[in-house]
Symmetry: C2
Subunit: 314 residues, 2 copies
């Protein structure tokens, strides 16, 4: 049984895998060797390095473990045609992303960028205009595992949480739920508007200039889902027109954000280079899920975690 | 009845006071006029502008409302001799301080200063080395109203909280309690060490170089209590020796922190100019406490809130 990784766990993590599965042959390569993929049974990847032609020539491949939540860059049709199993690490982002989102919200509310700038200038200034998170209202588009975790923590800070999804059906840690069609009615009440929506035909360009126009001028817009939930030119216009106060962006229409893009230099925009899910614990947790699933796979147990329905794509 | 303020609430807040107490004469001045203090019945102050000689000549003065928690700069002996009532705004700092403390912790854990620096340089870099708050251990020196609020929120993030006070007696939202004498035993387990201790004879220089020596090299030290809990030269040495990873300081031995002090330029020190308790809601909450107490005072009701015991000083 040949297991090819296209990323490099730490030496002790590699050693643990090898010791834990003595009958498996582990190969760790970054980038991976296409020749080796041809004879691999299992491929462990971040999900951004597989093409349709790889799948065609990977005759032994039975299982792809994607150590990421997004599968957009995977040749799903070809994988489905070959009946290759796909698993991912759904839920793994919950903790680091909720922490990142709260870090950005609190940093803005408590004026940390201004405090840092004053320190760089050697200036003791008490005029930093901090405000409070307590008593604020947050609107969370896409309240799934991550949004629910954000909602749980926001509620601990005394924030009123409104979830927004397609159906308007109940989600965890939301004081209230609305559907996409009610968005414009509720936007005027929100101090924080956070999208964690995936990229689907329904969410693409869901958020328009008109939506920003409905928001409080003091509101913070945050995108931690996918960049194509809006046209960046519309967000840019909303910021330039002071329709909203701040944007915190972890995702963009084009990543990396191109050099010279106006966002880089705007002091009411935070450019976070798609790192909110990063964590020192990320690979640890991904390998936990993998080793659990590998044990089941070896034992032909079909209760593997995070199996992807290749028809639905999630 | 003459009420002198030595700070300026917003015009609508001033108007509300005047409308709410038509029999009182309100005077708002910053700085205040010493002549007017001589005939004032009530003085409302942030507590940093009163001298012993002021008290001596303020013959009508019966009540000093301090819109702050610290009373160190008040001429307490002279006030006590005159039997002037003192009230403060104890507890008012709980929410903004807990939010500020969490903002700094999360900002460091999620590498926000590095993300900001990369943005200033127009650099899309995913190498930001974020870590997680989840699963960390926090040691909180002085777990009173503020520390308890910090503990409550840290626990929501999955942090194990250890409170430390003189007695080791139970405090709210602490998984464990220790006394000052057990500090060195417990310091090696803490990822975050936070002092919210007031300045007393017992807490002065409580924290020494040896304590930093006991800490994890990856630990963050935070001082949001009073600057004299340590000698700054010892903290500086601990940082220079890499005994600890980071210091976040909202209070200092001398405030403002003098120009040219090494802390200004150290990239593992955050200089927050004693603003963690600031909030857009601060004066709103202080005036709520004041108007409630003023109504009682007028009605000669002795249930006033936050009365200070002038013997104990708190």
């Amino acid at each position: 049984m040949k297991i090819l990784f296209s990323f490099l766990p730490k030496p002790d993590q590699q050693a643990n895998l090898i010791a834990g599965f003595p009958n498996a042959e582990f190969i760790f390569q970054k980038p991976f060797d296409e020749e080796i993929l041809k004879s691999a049974d299992i491929f462990v990847t971040y999900g951004e390095d597989l093409s349709a032609s790889h799948i065609e020539s990977a005759h032994q491949l039975k299982w792809i473990m994607v150590a990421s939540a997004g599968l957009e860059k995977m040749p799903m049709k070809e994988i489905a045609n070959r009946n290759i199993i796909v698993t991912n690490v759904r839920g793994i982002h919950k903790t680091p992303m909720a922490e990142s989102i709260l870090a950005h919200i609190l940093s803005i509310k408590k004026s940390l960028p201004i405090i840092a700038e004053n320190q760089r200038n050697g200036e003791w200034s008490k005029k930093v205009n901090s405000s409070e998170l307590f008593g604020a209202t947050a609107l969370i588009l896409g309240p799934g595992a991550i949004g629910g975790e954000v909602g749980r923590i926001l509620q601990a800070f005394g924030v009123y949480t409104i979830g927004c999804n397609r159906s308007g059906d109940l989600a965890n840690h939301m004081n209230e739920m609305i559907s996409f069609s009610q968005l414009k009615e509720v936007l005027p009440t929100a101090d924080i508007v956070l999208s964690i929506l995936p990229s689907t035909t329904e969410t693409r360009h869901l958020f328009t200039y008109e939506h920003f126009h409905c928001m409080k001028r003091t509101a913070i817009f945050m995108n931690f889902g996918r960049g194509d939930v809006l046209k960046e030119e519309e967000l840019l216009r909303a910021l330039q027109d002071n329709r909203i106060a701040y944007a915190v962006l972890d995702v963009f229409e084009n990543e990396p954000l191109p050099k010279g893009h106006p966002f880089w230099e705007m002091n009411n925009v935070i450019v976070s280079p798609h790192v909110s899910s990063h964590s020192s614990q990320y690979v640890v947790r991904a390998l936990e899920i993998f080793t659990k699933n590998l044990t089941m796979w070896i034992n032909e147990n079909n209760q593997m975690e995070n199996l992807i329905d290749l028809e639905k794509g999630y």
